[in-house]
């Protein structure tokens, strides 16, 4: 179901979502560690070897030289993690050299007295290279996974942004076409009728003139309602219509709404079922009257001539339940919530003027009061729309002074 009628299919070009070119796949971008200047990484290796040597020098009094190789192996692992494979290999080679020079007898030269140490060197070098390679590989895998994760999140965010953008654009085009159509129709009627009256004043019969004048008045009111709805929605969305709650009589609010709808309702029967013991309820009367009016107008619009509209209000638990029920075509299953969306027009709405704002305004007003709205089909046909408002605080009835107390007033 398109948000607007088919007749008003959006003409405005929808923005074509442009997906930014993804970063080249395959290799991850250089990680911060490998991004480091090479001389820094290799310099780091030298520092690590120096640190290992310091520790080994401190330990050599208590440990045999082969045990000191463990310190250097640790250094290789650190270099592999911190700087990658190349610096790890450099660390291994340097370690062997320094270890031989400083700790293997004869000390302070590269000669080796015990050939066993050659095996130690060989093993040390191999282990260092293997550990270095493995560690570096692990690190790359880790970075790669991180990168993929970031990229997936980024793509997801972009996709969502684009979807939102497209939706906003669709809504805007639907609004534009729908609003301009609904503004133009009454304007066209008014222009036509007014020019007929002006140019054909002498030829038109009195009933025709009357009919044209009535049409102008009706269409002007329709325009006024539409503009009012657009303004209200804008103001409600901007938060400019914060409810000013007072203890109100629902009977009074409904009465005022019906009084204003009198011309539109004409002879339609309206059945009022307001609970007799209904207390004063905390609400913004002006806003709530607007919600009531929109619900009744909606019911009126979709009901065949002569079908009654029922208005019910009752306290249910700690909520006020306010309902407007009609005997119209009802609601298509699945549309119960969508009907309250802005510019959404129900499947049964085609052929009826309107932009799909009346019910959204009801919803916004209910929400501003901390309440909710629901829509459902009625047994026996038709729809029922309800506003549920929380009742908080003590009803004001008890706070109204008695007759006795006020007799002294002037």
């Amino acid at each position: 179901m398109s948000p607007a009628d088919d007749r008003s299919a959006p003409r405005v070009h929808e923005a074509v979502p442009v997906i930014p070119a993804p970063a080249p796949a395959g290799r991850p971008p250089f990680s911060p560690a490998t991004e480091m200047r090479p001389w820094k990484a290799y310099g780091g290796s030298v520092l690590i070897v120096a640190a290992c040597t310091a520790i080994a020098a401190f330990m050599q009094r208590h440990f045999d030289p082969p045990n000191l190789t463990m310190i250097y192996l640790l250094g290789v692992v650190v270099a592999a993690i911190a700087f990658g494979r190349g610096p790890a290999v450099l660390t291994a080679v340097l370690s062997v050299a320094v270890f031989d020079f400083l700790f293997v007898p004869p000390r302070f030269n590269f000669g080796v007295s015990d050939t066993q140490y050659l095996v130690t060197f060989g093993v040390m070098l191999v282990v260092a290279i293997v550990i270095g390679t493995l560690t570096a590989w692990l690190r790359e895998q880790h970075e790669w996974a991180l990168y993929r994760e970031q990229r997936a999140a980024e793509l997801h965010r972009q996709a969502r942004d684009l979807q939102l953008q497209a939706e906003t654009e669709r809504t805007r085009s639907a609004l534009l076409s729908s609003v301009s159509h609904d503004l133009r129709t009454p304007l066209a009627v008014i222009t036509g009728a007014a020019s007929s009256l002006r140019d054909g004043a002498s030829t038109l019969s009195e009933p025709t003139r009357q009919e044209l004048a009535d049409t102008i008045a009706e269409e002007a009111l329709r325009l006024n309602r539409l503009i009012g709805n657009l303004l209200d929605m804008t103001r409600l969305e901007a938060g400019a219509l914060a409810p000013r709650k007072e203890w109100e009589s629902l009977e009074e609010v409904v009465g005022a709404a019906l009084e204003r709808l009198e011309p539109a309702l004409q002879k339609r029967p309206v059945v009022l079922k307001l609970a007799r013991d209904l207390p004063l309820v905390p609400l913004d009367a002006v806003l709530f009257e607007q919600a009531v009016r929109n619900l009744v107008e909606n019911a009126n619009k979709y009901s065949a001539a002569g079908q009654p509209i029922e208005i019910l209000a009752a306290i249910q638990g700690d909520e006020l339940r306010f309902e407007v029920a009609d005997r119209g075509p009802g609601i298509r299953p699945g549309e119960e919530q969508r009907l309250f969306e802005k510019f959404y027009r129900g499947a049964n709405a085609s052929g009826q003027p309107g932009v799909g704002l009346g019910l959204s305004i009801c919803e916004a007003i209910a929400r501003a009061h901390g309440g909710t709205v629901t829509a459902a089909n009625r047994p026996g046909g038709g729809a029922v729309f309800a506003i549920w408002l929380p009742l908080e605080g003590t009803p004001a009835r008890g706070q109204v002074p008695d007759e006795e107390l006020t007799r002294a007033a002037p």
Binding site: E252, L258, A409
Partner: protein, 235 residues
Amino acid sequence: MNEIGRANPSASVLLIEDEAPIRKFLRAALEGQGYAIVETATGQDGITQAATRVPDLVLLDLGLPDVDGFEILRRIREWSALPVIVLTARGQDGDKVRALDAGADDYVTKPFSMPELLARMRVALRHRARAGDDDPVIEVGRLRIDLAGRRVTLGDDEIQLTPIEFRLLGALARHAGRVLTRDALLREVWGPAAVGQHHYLRVYMAQLRRKIETDSARPEFLLTELGVGYRLRDG
């Protein structure tokens, strides 16, 4: 509002409105009803015209570009009680209340229909003519309110009202056809200390309607102007 009676041909109206199309149609419609129109587009000139021409009624647009509408109202009220009806934009209930409290006799909301405006003008002119001699009996359809005799009848039935209910109905009856702000009613019925206690009115209006109206949710006599006040329907 039911019939558009011809006005007293000598009734003159000062129209202070900056929108030329609105002046144009009001002049045409009001002259058609027998009123003499003086129009002006600025508030400054409006204040001068009101003082020099002394019209029978002023139609004042609240949204003038040069002088604030309330200021004009205040300046006119400094020297005169002549009836002023303000023209307001939709949704500005606060402005309506302010204008009424500042001494406006009534208001119409743009866009308004001519019968609506003419009805308000007739009520305002009639109250002006009657000012000073309080009519002790007010009749609205089948409802008859005898202020001096403190009796209210609906058709042939006498309605029993409590003192508060009577004071409330009496206040509305003395201004029959005109809107009374909630605070003005509270002041008149309960005294100045009650100003702001709007829920008093809701409780007592409900009681009053139950006694007078056939269907209190669709009142015939006691009309609610939401966010502004109450009005006893005229004629």
